[in-house]
Symmetry: C2
Subunit: 382 residues, 2 copies
C-alpha cells in the first residue's frame, strides 16, 4: 500500500492509503498482427515503435491500476491534463541487450528505478513500487524480445515515462498519473569505426541547470530549454553544447563529462568529473565509469571543473582527454571545444585510451560477454 | 506563408515554406447536446470544461491545418510525443467578460498573442500568425458565450496551449505541433469581500528561475519545479511562495510582485517591481498596472528589490504595501511574508489603497464598465 495524499493547491487535505503498483496483476494482450522489422542498419535513434507497450494508471481514490502490456497505441488524454499544461513528466533511459547465451539483459536497472522514483517525487507525482516496475519492464522486454537486434553495439532502448494526468487548469500537483514504458530498437549512436570525436560549443548565456533547480533529476523539462541553443550550436558546426555556469563546466548536451589530466610529474593521469551539486544528473553510466576506473586503481575526483582550468591544462599540454557518457551514447570522446568570446577552439590531442577502455568495458558487461558484479541482469522468464 | 525549417538534432536540413495558420479556413462542428451549467458560486478555478474547443495542428510538410472548433474531447497522441517526453509546451492565460452592453470582451489580447509567439519560439515550436489565432479565439468565445457568467468578478478563463507532437525519442525540436484553446468559467479568485490578504513564504533553497533560464517566457515547464515547494509552504500555513534568488525578490507563486514604499520625506509613495532580467514573466497585468499608475502620476521603478531592503523598510515603517498580480488573481494584497532563517513574519500594516485602486480600475476596464484606450476588445461577431 502506498501512502498518497490528496492534494489541492499544494495543501494536504485528507490522506488515503490506496493500492500500490502490483506486478502480479499484469494482463497481457498481444497485437493481432506484428509490425515488420526494419533493417538494423536503417535504424534512426528512437524513431521505431514496436508492437507493444506497458501502461499503468494512478487514480487517487483507487490507486495504481492493474498493469497492462498491450498493443502500441496512442494515449487519449483530457486537453487540460497536467502533463500538457504544467509539464509533470519524468522518464528514464535504459537498454536491453542480447547476451551470448541468447538471453535479454538489462544494465543496472535498479539504479534507473530508484532515480525514476526520485524524479517523480520532485514533480509531486505519486510514489510507486520500484521493484514492481522493474518486474514489468522485464516482462515487456521478454514480450518484445524479437525487437532486440542481436548485433554488437545494437540494443533495445527502453523509455519508462510517468506523466501527470490531472485534468484541471488550477495549478496543483497532479493526483492522477500514467506510467508507461516504450521500447525501440537502436543501433550504435555513432556508425563510424572508430567513432568520430564529438565537437562541443561552450555556452554560458543560456543555462541548462542551476543550484536549487531540477538539473539533478531526470525531468522532461530539463531537456526543453536546450532545444533552441542546440539548434544554434549545430548551425555553427558543433555537435553538442557544453553547458558552462559562471565558468564551471556542467554537462555536455544531456551527457555527463569526464576530464583526463596528465600529472605534472608525468607519472600517470588523474580523472575528474563535475560534482553532484544539484545541477548534474547522477548518471548510471557516470557512476559505472567511476566504479570501473576505481577497480583499475584510478579514483575519479568529483569536483568543480572550470573552463579556465581546461584552458590552462590545454596550454600546458596536460589536457589528455575529455569524454562524455550517457545511456544512448555510452562513451564518446570530445575532439574540440568551441570557446566563448572568439577564443577559437580548444583542441583535444588524442589518442583517447581511457575513454576507449571505458567504452569497451561497459559494452562487454552490458552485452553479457564479461560478468562484472551484478551489473548485467537477465530478464528472460524462460 | 510561414517559413519552417525541418530540423533533426537541431541542425538545419532543408527549408520549406508551408501554409501559415489561416482563420478563414475555420470549420465549426457544434456538440449534439450541451453540458449543464454549474452554479457560478460552485465554480472551482479551471475545473469545468465547456462544450467546445479550438484545435489546429502543424505538420512540417503541410503546414498549419484548417482550424476547427469542435466538441470538447480528449487528445489522442503517440506516447513518444515530444510534449510527454521533452515538455515542449507553452500556454497563455486570458479572460473574457460580459460587458454592460451584453457583448463578450477580451483584455489586451494582442499582448498574450505576442507572448505566446515568443514562448513558442523559445521552445523551438513552429511559428504562427498571431492575428489568426486571436480571430479564432474571438470565434471560440462567441460560440461559448453562454459559459461567461454575467456576474461582477466572474469571467471565462481562456487557455491557449501549444504542444509539441513529434513522435520520436531522439532529442530534437518538435517539427509537429498542436495548438488548442480551452475555455472554462471562473469566479473571483478570492470569494471573501474584502479579500483576505495573501501570506507568502520566502524560499531561496529552491529556485524558480535563473538568469539564462526560461523564467521570462510562459512555458509549461516553469510551473513544475514549484509544485513540491508549494506543498511544503502550504503545510507551513502559507498561501504561496515568494521566490528569492540571492536575496533578490523574483515572483510570488506564479504572480508578479509590486512594492509600495513610503517616501522618507513623508510626501507620498514610490512603487517598485522587479526588473525584467529574464527571470521575471512580463505579465500583461504587470504592464497594465504600470501604465495605470503612470496615468495617475506614479512612475513604477523597475529594479532589483531585495529581502534586505524589504526588512529595512518594514523596520522603518516605510513598507506600505506588497501586492501581487496575474490574469487569474487580478490583484491581491500580501498580509505577511514568512522570512527564512527563523526570523518570523514580516507583517504588512494595511490598508492597501494602491492595490485596491488598481484592482478596481482593472476590473472596470476588463468588464467594459470604463473605456480605457483600446484595452477592452469586443469579440462578438454580431
Amino acid at each position: 500500500m502506498a501512502a498518497w495524499k490528496s492534494l489541492q493547491n499544494g495543501s494536504l487535505e485528507g490522506i488515503s492509503r490506496v493500492p500500490d503498483l502490483d506486478a502480479s496483476k499484469l494482463t497481457i494482450t498481444l497485437a493481432n498482427s506484428l509490425k515488420p522489422m526494419p533493417a538494423p542498419e536503417s535504424l534512426v535513434f528512437g524513431s521505431v515503435s514496436t508492437d507493444h507497450m506497458l501502461v499503468v494508471s494512478f487514480d487517487p481514490s483507487t490507486g495504481w491500476s492493474a498493469p497492462e502490456i498491450k498493443p502500441y497505441a496512442p494515449l487519449s488524454l483530457d486537453p487540460m491534463s497536467s502533463c500538457f499544461q504544467y509539464c509533470t513528466s519524468v522518464f528514464e533511459g535504459m537498454k536491453a541487450y542480447i547476451g551470448p547465451d541468447g538471453k535479454a539483459r538489462l544494465f543496472r536497472p535498479e539504479k534507473n528505478m530508484a532515480r525514476l522514483a526520485r524524479s517523480a517525487g520532485r514533480c509531486a507525482l505519486p510514489p510507486f513500487n520500484e521493484n514492481a516496475v522493474l518486474t514489468l519492464i522485464k516482462r515487456l522486454v521478454s514480450v518484445e524480445k524479437r525487437w532486440i537486434p542481436a548485433l554488437e553495439g545494437y540494443s533495445l532502448y527502453i523509455r519508462p515515462t510517468i506523466i501527470g494526468t490531472r485534468a484541471a487548469l488550477g495549478l496543483a500537483p497532479s493526483d492522477h498519473a500514467l506510467l508507461y514504458v516504450l521500447v525501440t530498437p537502436v543501433g550504435p549512436f555513432f556508425r563510424q569505426t572508430p567513432a568520430k570525436p564529438v565537437s562541443l560549443l561552450a555556452v554560458s548565456d543560456s543555462v541548462r541547470a542551476w543550484p536549487g533547480g531540477t538539473g539533478g533529476h531526470k525531468l522532461g523539462l530539463n531537456y526543453t530549454p536546450g532545444l533552441l541553443p542546440q539548434r544554434v550550436a549545430a548551425k555553427k558546426g558543433y555537435d553538442q553544447i557544453l553547458w558552462v555556469l559562471d565558468d564551471v563546466v556542467s554537462e555536455a548536451g544531456v551527457m555527463n563529462v569526464f576530464v583526463v589530466i596528465k600529472r605534472e610529474a608525468g607519472d600517470g593521469v588523474d580523472v575528474v568529473t563535475p560534482e553532484l551539486d544539484g545541477t548534474i544528473l547522477p548518471g548510471v553510466t557516470r557512476m559505472s565509469v567511476m566504479e570501473l576506473l576505481q577497480k583499475r586503481g584510478t579514483q575519479v575526483a568529483e569536483r568543480k571543473v572550470t573552463m579556465t582550468e581546461l584552458k590552462a591544462l590545454s596550454a600546458q599540454r596536460r589536457l589528455s582527454e575529455v569524454f562524455l557518457m550517457g545511456t544512448a551514447i555510452i562513451v564518446a570522446s570530445v575532439g574540440r571545444i568551441g570557446l566563448e568570446g572568439g577564443e577559437g577552439d580548444l583542441v583535444l590531442p588524442g589518442p583517447t585510451p581511457v575513454a576507449d577502455a571505458m567504452k569497451k568495458s561497459l559494452l562487454e558487461i552490458q552485452e553479457g560477454r564479461v560478468e562484472f558484479e551484478d551489473w548485467s541482469v537477465i530478464c528472460d522468464d524462460d
